[in-house]
Symmetry: D5
Amino acid sequence: MGMFRNRDEVTEAIVLARIHAGLSWAEVASRLGLSKEWVTAACLGQMTFSAEQADALCGILQLDPAAKPFLTRPPMKGTFNGRPPDDPLLYRFYEMLSVYGPAIKELIAEEFGDGIMSAIDFSMDLQREPDPKGDRVRILLSGKFLPYKVF
Amino acid sequence: MGMFRNRDEVTEAIVLARIHAGLSWAEVASRLGLSKEWVTAACLGQMTFSAEQADALCGILQLDPAAKPFLTRPPMKGTFNGRPPDDPLLYRFYEMLSVYGPAIKELIAEEFGDGIMSAIDFSMDLQREPDPKGDRVRILLSGKFLPYKVF
Amino acid sequence: MGMFRNRDEVTEAIVLARIHAGLSWAEVASRLGLSKEWVTAACLGQMTFSAEQADALCGILQLDPAAKPFLTRPPMKGTFNGRPPDDPLLYRFYEMLSVYGPAIKELIAEEFGDGIMSAIDFSMDLQREPDPKGDRVRILLSGKFLPYKVF
Amino acid sequence: MGMFRNRDEVTEAIVLARIHAGLSWAEVASRLGLSKEWVTAACLGQMTFSAEQADALCGILQLDPAAKPFLTRPPMKGTFNGRPPDDPLLYRFYEMLSVYGPAIKELIAEEFGDGIMSAIDFSMDLQREPDPKGDRVRILLSGKFLPYKVF
Amino acid sequence: MGMFRNRDEVTEAIVLARIHAGLSWAEVASRLGLSKEWVTAACLGQMTFSAEQADALCGILQLDPAAKPFLTRPPMKGTFNGRPPDDPLLYRFYEMLSVYGPAIKELIAEEFGDGIMSAIDFSMDLQREPDPKGDRVRILLSGKFLPYKVF
Amino acid sequence: MGMFRNRDEVTEAIVLARIHAGLSWAEVASRLGLSKEWVTAACLGQMTFSAEQADALCGILQLDPAAKPFLTRPPMKGTFNGRPPDDPLLYRFYEMLSVYGPAIKELIAEEFGDGIMSAIDFSMDLQREPDPKGDRVRILLSGKFLPYKVF
Amino acid sequence: MGMFRNRDEVTEAIVLARIHAGLSWAEVASRLGLSKEWVTAACLGQMTFSAEQADALCGILQLDPAAKPFLTRPPMKGTFNGRPPDDPLLYRFYEMLSVYGPAIKELIAEEFGDGIMSAIDFSMDLQREPDPKGDRVRILLSGKFLPYKVF
Amino acid sequence: MGMFRNRDEVTEAIVLARIHAGLSWAEVASRLGLSKEWVTAACLGQMTFSAEQADALCGILQLDPAAKPFLTRPPMKGTFNGRPPDDPLLYRFYEMLSVYGPAIKELIAEEFGDGIMSAIDFSMDLQREPDPKGDRVRILLSGKFLPYKVF
Amino acid sequence: MGMFRNRDEVTEAIVLARIHAGLSWAEVASRLGLSKEWVTAACLGQMTFSAEQADALCGILQLDPAAKPFLTRPPMKGTFNGRPPDDPLLYRFYEMLSVYGPAIKELIAEEFGDGIMSAIDFSMDLQREPDPKGDRVRILLSGKFLPYKVF
Amino acid sequence: MGMFRNRDEVTEAIVLARIHAGLSWAEVASRLGLSKEWVTAACLGQMTFSAEQADALCGILQLDPAAKPFLTRPPMKGTFNGRPPDDPLLYRFYEMLSVYGPAIKELIAEEFGDGIMSAIDFSMDLQREPDPKGDRVRILLSGKFLPYKVF
């Protein structure tokens, strides 16, 4: 364990090491053979690496191997302390949900019935969408529909 | 104005009228020539109808014309009172943001620089994504990237 | 829709009708051929009835058929407004989670890896457990393990 | 006391020592002759060890004996600061309670009358439930029913 | 059911009926053969009457018998919505707990070990304590000690 | 001042020193000639010692005399940050107040008129109450009644 | 009781009746022989009238005598729901306390020792203070110092 | 800047230095030729010293001159984090405002019209008011009335 | 008073009456000879009309004269309940303050010293600012600088 | 990276370095050829510097070049943790919004239709406005109007 007391310290080390290594998140992900979305979330302490992935990450970023046991255990997730986020970029997503949420609820109910879109069996893809009026951020969310069990 | 005192009462009338008319939200939207996502949000009191759209909606749902002035004025938006939503379907989106938000922030910064993805110059599209392991909800978010102005 | 303006009014009518009918929740559930846990939650406005179940419920409780469209649409769920519950019986469950939650997290991680216990593909069973030192409440929770998708 | 200033520091040491020792929580519990659920909660700072249990734990994990006075005194319990938990795995339990709580209240009232299910004279058991459609987490909660005293 | 839609309306009726009847809470309790503390709490919607007690109360206060089914079912309890109380008299008790709470915790631990003082197997007695420097309120709280179960 | 920067550090030192000295809180109080309730609260940073009491305490616990100026100045009191407490033992008291509070308010009004029970001209006494069905915690609260001044 | 269901309805009636009667709060107070500060607070539902005062008030404002039982019982007090006030005039007082509060605490400790300034054995006086640079509001607060009891 | 990183560290140093110097707040204020109320607030980090006052304070308390730049810049003010204060002495003022606030609002409106009492062009004076029934704390608040501008 | 019970009902009537009258807020303001910003705020229940202004407004909007006493008394102001606003348009202003607030604080300190920009001796002006890249909203805020009084 | 672990430490260093350098924010901005409003916000950790700007800033303030990677990456923005600000100067802006916000909403709707004033394509200008009755703070906000997209 040595130099790290908890996952937050490992995350801070990763953030600094990536800048030091001069790599983008997309490059780190590419070297790991995974999506940039998952890898970035995992590096920031929200996902769990396999032992092989953790080894590879330590190699790519020249991280102390003491980080490995922290990288391979499921972390306490979530970053908002039960509040809307303060950061303007992140707040916009909360606002989209606040404005369009009831409509999303109606449309999923109409198409699928009572249930949810999984946030676990879930993936996302973020791309630049070129547009003459100004490029757009395109985010594709894909989550398994899970129907409420009747019992 | 007559039978309605505020927009909430109009929304409640729309919700009941749609069921009474036996129309899905997608059908209402189709008759208006607009997306189901925007129309549902607008019917639930989050968007503003043009005069023509309001007339058409009143005709489709047999709404009292007294609803029209309420439909054509920008409403007070937002439905969460500054909290995460309680409903499980809606909460999953808050959770996605809480878990993947910092990664989204990093990746937009990496691709675009400092700015936000607009929640105003924004559209969404919700579809059923067939999958042998269980169909998925596919939501495409598209928002204009807005760079912070340096001044 | 007539006599009901929203699902809350339907719920209030069900609560009164059940007392008037002199039936326990277990009896209502038995007549519907479903568990008492699901039926009670559904009657209290947290689950969605099929058309047949809604018809049967209206018959059992002599409910006005105007209730049916409300019973068959997915409701906005959740009853706590983002807070711990005030009621002592309900608070105890929040407290169990506050005290044992981190241990549950560790043990599920140890047994299953990173993921969650579903609250959707989920069932519960509540029984009296006779005990000479005082009968106990025995609650069995069963939820599908959902591993985080790596992508 | 020496190397520890408070129980939180002891907990952090236990967490690191267990990984270092290469033991699962279930193995630690087994060596103590207690359930994995209670032992994990106790190690994480929510329960009180007897002097003998504390000695045994220090031996199993090679903990500094200075930890003992902290392990044998009742800790300040609870981990949520009066909010719902942020972590998705833990939040699901809060959500179950928010959705099924009023039904649990009704069914305990129907079976037992007015009172609560104890969170103190309480035990839990967490198991993997094999299922061809995906293994399940099975949690059995057992708490003494405590009737409200009439006085 | 008739004239009452829920327990809150019954409580409001009791409050008015008691004033109309010209009875103190102590007198109502005396006629029921129970303590003034329990009876007042029960009348205010926090406790459950037996069928006989409910009949007696209806007689004493000339309440409509439609109140009875509400009086005999366990109510949703708690009156603070998860906050400290605003009323100065009630706030003082919250403050006593905020100031003396950690000391109470230490002293119960010292005397009994790890556990709680029950708020269910609990009674209280409130008396005027004559004092030449100004009479005092004397409140005796008695709750069963419940040790944490080790399992 | 030397080794202490604020009262919290003094409190932490007292907590450790008492364990090191092998004294119960009741013994510390006894040597000071004061009640265990007041002394424990004072040691935990909620009350103010006289110069003599502070000297005595430093002697009893072998505290560094640099603690004295902190012990003799009125501290910032209160330990809950405006929330209900998380600890189960402490929460039960909040719950008692939430459930019985309105009744306490009515009964004090009935007996004394409009005013409060002082939390300042206040004392408490905590005892073990032997009971064949399980010993009880008996807490006696005594506070001066303070009538609202009419002016 | 008749026309009023609770104290809030009585307060609303008083507010309207005073305007209808064309009297200032100071005039109402003067006719009652009490201070304008206490009378206004009492009329707004924060203080308790004696039977004679209630009769006089009903006469002055031509209030329905059904108001009397509500006026003579101690009300649930406090108007902020545990938050800072929104109204700018009221917020300024919260802000004064937030800015000068720790200094007030130090100065009372320096002059009186550990204790509080009573908000019950308390009076206030609000006057216009003529000033050539703009008249000032002068508020004199007088509260009995209550020392913490050592026991 | 040297030994101080921010204003909070300067405040902590002042608090310790004053005790070390054996001076009361009133004495410090007297040497500065200012009121004890303003000086104490300023020393606690809520007000801004002029260069001369800062020099004088450093001399009186033997503070390191590195404190001066911090003392002469307007600090971020306010000490409550948007909540009511926990400390009983401070809470009483919040309570006075919660109970008497609406009356204060009415009386200022009656005397001055629509506006506020300034918390900036403001002074306060705290005195011991001898009283045979127990000395009182007398606080005089004086703030300029600021009428809302009509434009 | 007649048809209105409080200011909120008057506000609702104004909102409907303006639409019915087919007048813009700017036109209403113009007829009153005041700015559109102040008049709109006043009509929405945040400012106080003089008797003459109230008469004029009643005439312009054909309001029942019973509204007048409500229009001429200072209202309880503020519309956010101590939270950030939910509406996206309003939230942007909260966000500007959250992002630029500390800079505003520094710059006012640099230019004026310690004090505030008044929100009372304050006016605002909102205009459309034509811009080939998209018109802009231009808001000019003007508030008197109020220096903290040293006393 | 060396001497800085995160952006907050860089911000703290900038704050101290500016004082040490004896420069006003306006002077720092002038040397950078940018507005004082943007530069101050950026220095306080709310905006992103280009590489050239970061180099220039490090030169102007004699900052360690290790600060540069932190200065050129988009920071997590926002400083209020989802609450109104405590500082009186900052709170006034929140209050202006709470009081005038609904009017701003109406007037933007009247002039532009449904949309927002951007907080991203945004600039502000803060000036001293000389006034014989006391100088004023004049703040000009300019934000692009963004209409809601209909889709």
